[in-house]
Amino acid sequence: MTNMTDPKTVESGRSVSLDVRRIIATNGVPILFLALSITMALVAGLNVTFLLNEVVTRLARNSLLVLSLLIPVTAGMGLNFGIVIGAMAGQGAAIAVTYWGVTGVRGFLLACLLSTPIAAIAGWLAGNVLNRAKGREMITSMILGFFANGIYQLIFLFIVGPIIPLNDRRLLLPSGIGVRNTVDLINIAQSLDKIWRPVIGGVRIPVVTLLISAGMCVVIGFLMKTKMGQNLRAVGQDMHIAEVMGIKVDKTRIIAMILSTVIAGWGQLIFLQNIGTLNTYNSHEQVGMFSIAALLVGGASTRRATIWQAIVGVVLFHTLFVVSPLAGQRLFGVPQIGEYFRVFVAYGIIAVALALHAWQGRQVRRRAAEEAMLTE
């Protein structure tokens, strides 16, 4: 497994690799899900090559979306359910590129370029809203996502056609108003994946897509080491102390939201180019929930999330996603059970993570209060 041990354990002088209890205590969630995935894979009796293929594809497809969650967590804003807004910006750009008929990698890059300002403006707005709801950012970002979904539907169902001209029968609904429910993204479909896709041991590897995600990991890792990253961490630790230190807290939080939304927009474009078709009114809806669940499965919390947790999380969550319907079929003879089970896993892991976070927060505060009493 990946090396996620705390530097503190090294300082304590104990041998890290042998301290199993510590590893389990700090990485309990990913270990549990690893065990669950393996058990279910065995029950389902899946072909290993098929499973590996699926997981690699999904890793390439989803990791950028999950990475987009990291910055707001660092800034202390919790899990950003508002990445769906970035996904909507990406989808708008994908539709535009399809309409203009720009093909291949050029089309993909143009879509990225186009989604960036839209996502940035949306992220700026979202950041401003969240600054007015400090302490309840997560629920606010979730409702913000639903609200933005309403605006998105208003634009693509009623405004595109009569007000924003779009003269393309293939894109419009038969009535001439609004975009079709499914748009074939023929121009940018697989444009990144198919650049170089070697088959190693029966597993097709979309190298370029994976490299882009890896590049984003490097960029985020670098960003965290700059002054900006320090500010983000300081704000995440304690807003009041950061304010006293002379950091512009509100501005930093807005920047975190802008970055997150923009990365999510690109992430959705990568997702769409892999899938190849756009469900205009559904593709974005589940993005927030699945990405957050994946990050949490990787062992992240609402206050701390690392790049490795994001990657491990995507692998584990999507393994479970692939195997659970088949396991449900094998165990109960009803495939829907597995289907509902994975929905439960997604919701349940978020519920547990949020509850744990709130509970731990209370414990820390209580301990601090007790210590304060003792020192008095």
Partner: protein
């Protein structure tokens, strides 16, 4: 004069003025385009009675200090189980309805108590935890519906003979029993005294609950926990009472909703149930800290009338169904408005 006007606006609240204005425009448009205004009002009143108790379920959690109850699906699921037991036993008419409520209440009390225990340990994050506990319970119950030991052939899939159907028809059981009870006409508007009376009865019950010693203690615990504790009130158990009461109301609310709709919707249907109820009470002027019965009645009236009339009226003017989009924007916009203001929906 302007000061007085401003005071009036402040008292009513901008969101309510905007929505009332919307409604006025809709009704005028309906009148101009020769639509039957009494028919629109009839439909709206049915929807008010249908959703009222689910909105009322928000009051206890807000007033005991837990905030908006996004965990409403927990109560809804308890209500669904109660309704299913009543249907499994083939009870018809009013006895079926009251049996459903009777079976649902004990389940809701237990579920509500466990939920309250959980919320107690996640103080400060109740809304977020509640949302996802509700979501994940809906998913767990999907598995339960598939495996549940119900035998009545009306309830389970015809093919395979296992698992409950997605939507169950209530027609033979207790479908519309309240809706069709004591119906009278007023200026061409059909009013179901049974349905609306039931809703108002529950409003009255909750109103009197807050006049009892327990109710006042709960209000105090919600408004100022420190003061309440020093006055000898057990804040924790007051919160538990609030959450249990809310869950029970949600269970009754979904049974009333289903009988009015005529169908019992299982599986993923309860997933988003909390959001329209939350939006309605906020539109009625409630905040995250304070909610009254009048907030419930005003909010449900405005929100449900808007939802009911928007579709038929706007479809005359605009092509396509804009009401679903309007519902998304208005309800979530209202929740956002309340979340970003320290005073809430005012």
């Amino acid at each position: 004069m302007t000061l007085r006007l401003r005071r009036i606006v402040e008292n009513i609240g901008i969101p309510r003025l905007i929505i009332a204005g919307f409604l006025l425009i809709i009704f005028i448009t309906a009148y101009i385009t020769d639509m039957s205004v009494p028919q629109l009002m009839t439909d709206s009143l049915v929807r008010v009675g249908m959703n009222g108790i689910l909105v009322l379920a928000m009051v206890p959690t807000i007033s005991c200090g837990v905030g908006l109850n996004f965990g409403l699906p927990l109560g809804v699921l308890s209500g669904l189980v109660g309704a299913l037991i009543s249907m499994e036993r083939n009870l018809k008419g009013f006895s079926g309805l009251f049996a459903a409520i009777g079976f649902a209440i004990p389940i809701a009390v237990v579920v509500g108590y466990l939920y309250a225990k959980l919320l107690e340990s996640v103080k400060g994050q109740e809304m977020m935890v509640g949302t996802y506990v509700g979501f994940s319970t809906v998913a767990v119950m999907c598995v339960f519906w598939l495996l549940a030991p119900f035998k009545n052939p009306e309830l389970i899939w015809a093919i395979g003979g296992k698992g409950l159907r997605f939507t169950l028809t209530l027609g033979n059981h207790f479908g519309k029993v309240l809706n069709e009870f004591a119906v009278f006409q007023l200026f061409g508007v059909k009013i179901s005294a049974g349905l609306l009376g039931f809703f108002l009865l529950f409003c009255l019950l909750i109103y009197f609950f807050y006049k009892t010693k327990l109710g006042i203690a709960m209000l105090a615990a919600g408004a100022n926990p420190v003061f309440a504790r020093s006055a000898g009130i057990d804040v924790r158990s007051m919160k538990a009472v609030g959450v249990v009461l809310s869950t029970v109301l949600a269970a009754i609310g979904i049974i009333i909703y289903a009988q009015s709709y005529g169908f019992l919707q299982l599986y993923m249907a309860p997933l988003m149930m909390a959001f329209p109820a939350v939006a309605a009470i906020l539109i009625g002027g409630a905040s995250l800290q304070k909610a009254t019965i009048s907030n419930v009645i005003i909010g449900t009236l405005l929100f449900q009338t808007l939802l009911t009339t928007a579709l038929p009226v706007t479809s005359r003017v605009i092509q396509g169904d804009i009401s679903e989009v309007a519902r998304l924007i208005i309800s979530n916009g209202m929740i956002l408005y309340a979340l970003t203001r320290s005073t809430g929906g005012k």
